[in-house]
């Protein structure tokens, strides 16, 4: 058993970055995720493992530091919250085009604009539809506990390097700020320079004499070549869709209705499920762990099973619900319930929404 600690979600993520053998973290403070860089600076990973921690002058600079360091084969990470993540979108589009592996977290707060520092899930579209320009995707992991804030760092780095892609840990102010018991995985040693050069021949680590140089770029002025590159990216996203869908089914065996939720909304919906079941309503929960890739097939299987209706529960005006609708494709009723702008819905109001909006509506 690993070391047990009581930690905030943000701190668990920071500690996990050190333990996952990260080479660098570049970030800029913003509530509700500043604990990530504060924890790292206090913990001095530069002494523990040699990991670099740098406070950048902006989120724009931070993501471009990630671009440079990730392109040279190192395991690098950044984190921010909604307004800061908006600033990173240009860099993320370049990262997608240049196929740079990296990990970043968005501890989402309410928007639009400066919005509020309270929790939200209103950055779903930005996260899964590609917040920057161009046809691209990133893997999106949605932790629902402090434990998963830690575990998804390791998983995220592995997926990032497996596919040369950006992996986003899409959290929110609830998960980032709350304290829970977490079992920390053991220290993974940082890769040596020699290992990096051998494992990642695409990385800019200095061109050995007589070898081909490595170029990290998203540019090709030849449109036919650019189309080919886009086909390559799309094939990669398809492979990810086939292999990396992650979710959890809770109480769906006998269910007539299903809540679809992720992150803190999934925890609330699980409580609503218990309330509804006490009233004799057969409802289950599909908790999404990956938002891209989306568990479309699983939702179709639930339709095959005869589910009458799905209630998308999210702290937004209705974003994820669109992907639920696309997956259900008219075979069952789909509705949305969620508070937003920084308000967290209660289990009772979600249960009521099940009765009034989905079943009765």
């Amino acid at each position: 058993m690993g070391e047990l600690k009581l930690m905030k979600g943000n701190e668990a993520m920071a500690e996990a970055a050190i333990r996952a053998g990260a080479d660098a973290y570049f970030g800029y403070p913003i509530t509700p995720q500043s604990e990530v860089i504060e924890y790292l600076m206090a913990e001095k990973p530069f002494e523990r493992t040699g990991m670099v921690v740098l406070q950048a002058e902006s989120e724009v600079a931070a993501i471009n530091m990630v671009y440079g360091a990730g392109g040279s084969g190192k395991r690098v990470m950044t984190s921010s919250s909604s307004p800061g993540v908006s600033l990173k979108q240009e860099g993320l589009s370049y990262i997608a085009g240049s196929e740079i592996p990296c990990l970043y977290a968005n501890v989402v707060r309410g928007g639009p604009g400066l919005g509020t520092i309270q929790p939200s899930q209103a950055d779903y579209f930005q996260s899964v539809k590609g917040g920057g320009h161009g046809d691209y995707k990133q893997i999106v992991l949605a932790p629902a506990s402090v434990q998963e804030m830690a575990d998804f760092v390791k998983l995220g780095f592995d997926l990032a390097f497996k596919y040369r892609i950006a992996v986003l840990i899409l959290s929110d102010g609830v998960i980032g700020q709350m304290m829970e018991k977490v079992e920390l995985f053991d220290q993974v040693p940082r890769m040596t320079d020699a290992e990096i050069k051998e494992k990642y021949p695409w990385a800019t680590t200095g061109k050995a004499k007589g070898t081909e140089r490595r170029i990290i770029t998203s540019l090709d002025l030849d449109s036919l070549k650019m189309e080919k590159h886009n086909h390559h990216l799309q094939a990669k996203y398809k492979l990810i869709t086939e292999n990396e869908v992650r979710f959890e089914l809770i109480g769906c065996e006998d269910a007539e209705y299903v809540f679809v939720a992720y992150g803190s909304s999934a925890r609330i919906a699980q409580k609503s499920m218990q309330l509804a079941r006490k009233k004799g309503i057969k409802v289950g929960l599909l908790r999404l762990i990956t938002l891209f890739p989306f568990p479309t097939k699983q939702i179709q299987t639930l339709c095959d099973q005869g589910i009458k209706g799905f209630l998308a529960v999210e702290m937004s005006a209705g974003q994820m619900v669109e992907d639920v609708q696309l997956s259900v494709n008219g075979r069952a009723k789909v509705a949305h319930y969620g508070r937003f702008g920084g308000i967290v819905h209660s289990p009772e109001e979600v249960e009521l929404a099940l009765e009034q909006i989905l079943i009765g509506g």
């Binding site: 671009y67 440079g68 170029i215």
Partner: protein, 262 residues
């Protein structure tokens, strides 16, 4: 007397000039007479002469030199517009033993990337920045740059730069020289053989500083022409540059070994 044949002449000891080894065979995309090509060449000559080929990672900007990675035969990363100093910071921080440099135009370095430039310089990143100041946005068709001179015409200042409404040209090189994180700051040109020799010496010093782990950024500005953007012949452009750009952007070292000399 025996006849002299070509074989007698083509001998290593008679070699006076050759293609830069660390430039690729790719045809340069620059307009004839443009300073970018010469600046590329001397940069790569310095890297070659210092034996840094295997250890160097370059960062290309967005601007006419966006394709620098097609011409410079070393490992290269292409950065978003203005972000090269942040990209270089990322690389240098995780590969502190490597030599990292950026190559940037004036729009890239002194407009959209001002923040990244100032902060990389202020943090004292151990990198080389090569800054090609041609007073205009060459790549996008000759729009006004932060360095465009007062009264100078461009496609977005068609009646000349009016400093009252368009602001003053930014002497970013003098500005970064004021920061404690810069170690070597100089302004050069590449319009004559003598200037090229001087500029190459400055670039060599910049790379030596980084090789020797000197504290801070080595910043080399090269005042250059953009004959296409300025709508002049290459010769007229160089003459105009000497008469107009040089008085505003005076040549020479500004800071050497961390000490202001101007």
């Amino acid at each position: 007397m025996a006849e002299i044949t070509l074989e007698d002449i083509i001998k290593p000891e008679n070699l006076v000039y050759e293609k830069t080894r660390l430039m690729t065979d790719k045809e340069l995309s620059y307009c004839p007479g443009c300073g970018h090509g010469t600046a590329h060449r001397i940069t790569m000559e310095v890297i070659d002469e210092l034996g840094l080929e295997e250890n160097t990672i370059g960062v290309a900007p967005v601007g006419c030199s966006v394709l620098a990675y097609e011409f410079m035969n070393i490992d290269m990363t292409q950065a978003a517009h203005g972000r090269a100093p942040a990209v270089a910071t990322g690389i240098k921080r995780v590969w502190p033993d490597k030599i990292v440099f950026t190559y940037q135009g004036d729009g890239d370095l002194a407009a959209i990337g001002t923040g990244e430039t100032i902060h990389a310089c202020n943090r004292g990143e151990k990198i080389v920045i090569i800054f090609i100041n041609n007073g205009i946005y060459g790549m996008t068709g000759g729009q006004m740059a932060p360095t465009t001179l007062p009264g100078m015409k461009s496609s977005t200042s068609p009646y000349g730069r009016d400093v009252e409404t368009m602001g003053n040209p930014l002497k970013i090189t003098e500005l970064v020289a004021q920061l404690p994180g810069t170690y070597f700051v100089t302004r050069q040109a590449v319009h004559t053989p003598a200037a090229v020799r001087k500029a190459k010496k400055a670039i060599r010093k910049a790379f030596e500083n980084q090789r020797d782990n000197k504290p801070g950024v080595s910043f080399v500005e090269i005042v250059s022409n953009c004959n296409s953007g300025w709508k002049m012949t290459p010769i007229d452009a160089n003459n105009w540059m000497v008469d107009n750009m040089f008085p505003f952007y005076p040549m020479g070292d500004i800071k050497v070994d961390g000490v202001m000399v101007k």
